[in-house]
């Protein structure tokens, strides 16, 4: 999915504190455990995290 700069700004300013998060990472990008740590550091409750390989 293509993401516009404005949408990206929206992501960057997303408040994850207290939110439930599903973290799906990818081998060629950011992996699941890293996303989980990132979301947790922002106060999120990561209910599921996984790394996918799309090739």
């Amino acid at each position: 999915m293509a993401v516009t700069t404005d949408e990206m700004k929206g992501f960057l300013h997303m408040d994850l504190n207290g939110k439930s998060v599903v973290a799906i990472g990818e081998r060629e990008g950011v992996n699941g455990p890293s996303l989980k740590l990132l979301a947790e550091s922002a106060g999120a409750d990561v209910v599921f995290s996984v790394t996918q390989c799309f090739v």
Partner: protein, 474 residues
Amino acid sequence: MREPAILNSAYALAHAPELVRYGSKPVREIRRDPSLLPSMTEGLRPWNEVIGYPPNQVFIGNLQPDDLVSIPRPWYRNRVEHAVTSGPFGRMITQAAMYGLMKLCDDFDLLTIDEDLAEQARLELIEFDHRRDRIVGAGPAELKKLLDGGSGLPLYHGARVAGFIRTAHEQDPSLAASVLLENLACKATAALAVSDLLRYSSLAPSRVDYLFNSGEEAVGDRYQRGGGSLSKAIGEVVGCVNATGSDLKAFCAAPVHALIAAGAMVAAGLYDHVVVLGGGSLAKLGMKFAAHLRNGVPVMEDCLASMAFLVGPVDGYGMRLRLDLTGKHPIGAGSSPRAIYEALVMEPLARVGLGITDIDRYAVEMHNPEITEPGGSGDVPRTNYRTLGAMAVLQGEIGRGDIDHFVAEHGMPGFAPTQGHIPAGVPYLGHAQQAMNRQDLDRAMIVAKGSLFLGRMTQLVDGVSFIVERDSHS
């Protein structure tokens, strides 16, 4: 210590449109929605389109990877005219020949094919003379009996049911017909690549000492799932009577691990001729078919790919395998793309004072982008090359604006089928040897990654790399 070399490469594509329905994703999706089967079948390509498909011609060596730059996309519409099935280091075979190969590899009468299919296969497999008499067809009554009452899977060819593969043990999921079909397809396609490799190398099969299988199959039984060793089974088919072998597992990185291990065996003086091989992954046929149908493109994961490499002491004509410049992704390294490339590329280069731009060509994950892009996975090799280019910027080797130029000069378009271990850097080895023979290439780096986390035993990824260099006479 003897210096090892990769002496030759062989690649094969077996057209398998009627096996696509037994790929992992099609099986699951068609079970959920049976109406997908006819639309998927309609989306499959005929043999002549598979032959003329430019990435396939690159895979067998009739085109160079760079030729794809000048062929407009979509490549499936801009096919090569008068394309042929044989190349300098590879070939394509029809589905009939593939069924015949499976039959001649079948030591347990698992597979039954009809008489017409057997006859066609025998005609196409002349070089397998020592086993061709095993390609015997069954009469209609025998096949019908199996289809009506046997436990197994029907096999299709064209518009008809032309065969059957039976389950070998009713209570053993490792010996179910679906698993045996995967394993037999892998064995057959790998045997083809090894047979061709030895023919290209003018090496008698009896001179092979050791075989390393690096495929994605899991041959075994209920007590030892994935026990192996398909390497030895393949060596038997090809006539490597003096060889033994083993299977090396590391997800898609296995072939590069195996090539390094083979080089070490040769360097140590343990063996003179080691074959590294990998057969086709039936599970990955049609893996992205739903995205292909959604986007109105052909179902392009329709071929089983296989490969084989001969490793021996340097002979002046092969490619030097620099064991002193191998890279590995250690357990303690991070899993970000940058951490992976620091381990696999920068660390070995830094050991001898080389920079990223000192490598003429990198072969990374060589997945054909035309297959991956409709599903949203992007152009995987390009992403990898851009990561490498960004690291060259950080090293101060190139400017920020030079990344595209770096990608064009040190990378190449993806051309390999999405068969996991097949695209993992190694499809370039045949091209690299040709380029070195033309004096167009001095040094290439092969980089492979493996998604260990998919097996749910670790969150880790894996990766390994090595460098090949032009030998004195090449």
